[in-house]
Amino acid sequence: MTARGQRWASLVALALAFAGLYARVLTAPPLGGFAPPQTAARAESRAAPRYEAQLLPNSTAASVHSATAAEISGGRLRAFWYGGSREGASDVAIYTSVYSLRQKDWSPERAVVTREFVQRHLRRSVRKLGNPVAGRDSKGRLCLYFVSVSVGGWAGSAVNLMVSEDEGETWSPPRRLIASPFFNISTLVKGAPLLFSDGGVGLPVYHELIGKFGELLRLDAEGHAIGKTRLSWGQSSLQPVIVPRSEKEAVGFMRYSGDPPNRILIVRSGDGGVHWSRPEKTALPNPNAAIASVLLSDGALLLALNNAEEDREDLSLALSTDFGNTWRTARRLEGGSGPAPAPVPEYSYPWVMQDRDGDVHVLYTWGRSRIKHVRFNRAWLEGRP
């Protein structure tokens, strides 16, 4: 081909490439707002207070952390957490166990994700595993998002996704989510995923490389990252949890790792998660620790938090009836004159959810050696006799 021919051929290739790019961008469907929250049964106004607590099975791991759970068919919950010889060790695996809401017991745990399994399927080196997060996509499939690290510490994390069509008995091979341009590292999960009305999934994520900040990652129906919105920036906010209450409106909370006073951060969106307010400190303390939140069926907002500025020895529940403007501490789950303390008095990384019958479940790390599950109803939360 002559030089002139090559020149025009390159122009044609350029035109075709950009025609494709414009077609992709201009024909993209409009982004949907938040899907309506799943409605649980409203608590009976005269129900007696009910509270139960138990430790989840753990037959092998010296250290466990970061529990997550989803309600599955047959009146059951399926929980996940990671465990191994210590946090960050190469033998850390993600375990699962199933809880029967009727029989009130947990099945023996089994490893569902190991480092070797992930490495083999991702075709990438994997050094360790971290936080899992469970949720459902718009097709109703159970999704497990989890952190893996190839190089370095948690700042070198990436997020992976596995999908189950049978409520967690079997899983698709893991797939890497691409969420950062810098070697795709430093993306982690802790907060529960949410659904968008267009069939997409919103996954709260955070970054820990140089900056510490939160984002809401938007996934398409197949689980590919197709957009994201920044929830915060700088070096002091992480582990966002997002709670929508309508198609447009949501509130988000973040762990705070900056200068005192140490407070939980709050952000709000009024346009379906497209824009978020500047993060502000709430009146609620935060000892640089994870939090969890859920919108209860009666419209109250429930927050599980370490109710201190310096340590994780007090784990409490706070309620807000005005969608996060004001709070009152409703119950203390751990610390003070509560239940017998763990050998290491650290209670952290709560996960909170409400089942279809209206009972609330909180799972959290108990002394770094076990995962604890507490189940209660609204009457107990209100402290009614």
Binding site: L14, F18, L21, V25, I178, P181, H207, G211, K212, W233
Partner: protein, 205 residues
């Protein structure tokens, strides 16, 4: 194995081969020895040792590589094997300048410096595509063919869903290309009249 994984591994393997060929100065060997070394290196890079190949280890660290890195790595491999540089100095300087600018725009903000996140533009922004079109048309009119090639390869790979990423930035630029571009430009500033990282390409300038 998925097509995404195959393409990702091929890219990382290519980078490994380019690195090896450059470090050992492959073109100083006899021609047959060059082919033999590259063949042996390709086997070493792509054939799994245990669960993973060397390419998979590289991919674990780097992620999938951009069109800029692949074009530069491919050109380096060809230059070392054939002894003939494909990329002219003017072309390379223009690409490196654009890569350095893109990196300066992308990485500090993407790492959380401000509320603005340029990486989000790569998921589907008319403004971003238009800016890229203008830059590419300017490069085409200035006969900077390397820039046009990188953008066209990146755009086609993005449209085809070659990698797991759905973000156009990931197909255009990566930290490897950015660091290389910066190092190449700095070497050119420090040694304006001497042979720099582009020793081979200057022959074709």
């Amino acid at each position: 194995m998925s097509a995404n994984a195959i393409l990702g591994l091929l890219g990382c393997g290519l980078l490994g081969l380019a690195g090896l060929a450059t470090v050992i100065r492959l073109r100083r060997l006899p021609l047959r020895a060059r082919y033999a070394v590259m063949l042996a290196a390709a086997l070493a890079v792509f054939v799994p040792i245990g669960d993973l190949s060397i390419a998979a280890w590289v991919r674990g660290v780097t992620g999938d590589l951009s069109a800029a890195t692949l074009v530069l790595a491919g050109a380096a491999c060809i230059a070392q094997v054939t002894g003939r540089a494909l990329i002219g100095n003017r072309d390379k300087r223009a690409l490196c300048r654009l890569l350095a600018l893109a990196a300066a725009f992308l990485y500090p903000f993407a790492l959380g410096w401000t509320p603005f996140d340029p990486y989000a533009l790569g998921f589907g922004s008319v403004e971003f595509v238009t800016a890229l079109l203008l830059v590419t048309l300017a490069a085409w009119s200035a006969r900077l063919n390397l820039v046009v090639l990188v953008v066209v390869v990146a755009a086609l790979a993005f449209l085809a869903g070659a990698y797991e990423s759905r973000n156009l930035w990931d197909y255009l630029v990566d930290p490897f290309a950015s660091f290389y571009a910066l190092a190449w430009l700095l070497a050119g500033v420090r040694l304006p009249n001497s042979v720099s990282l582009s020793r081979n390409s200057r022959q074709a300038d």
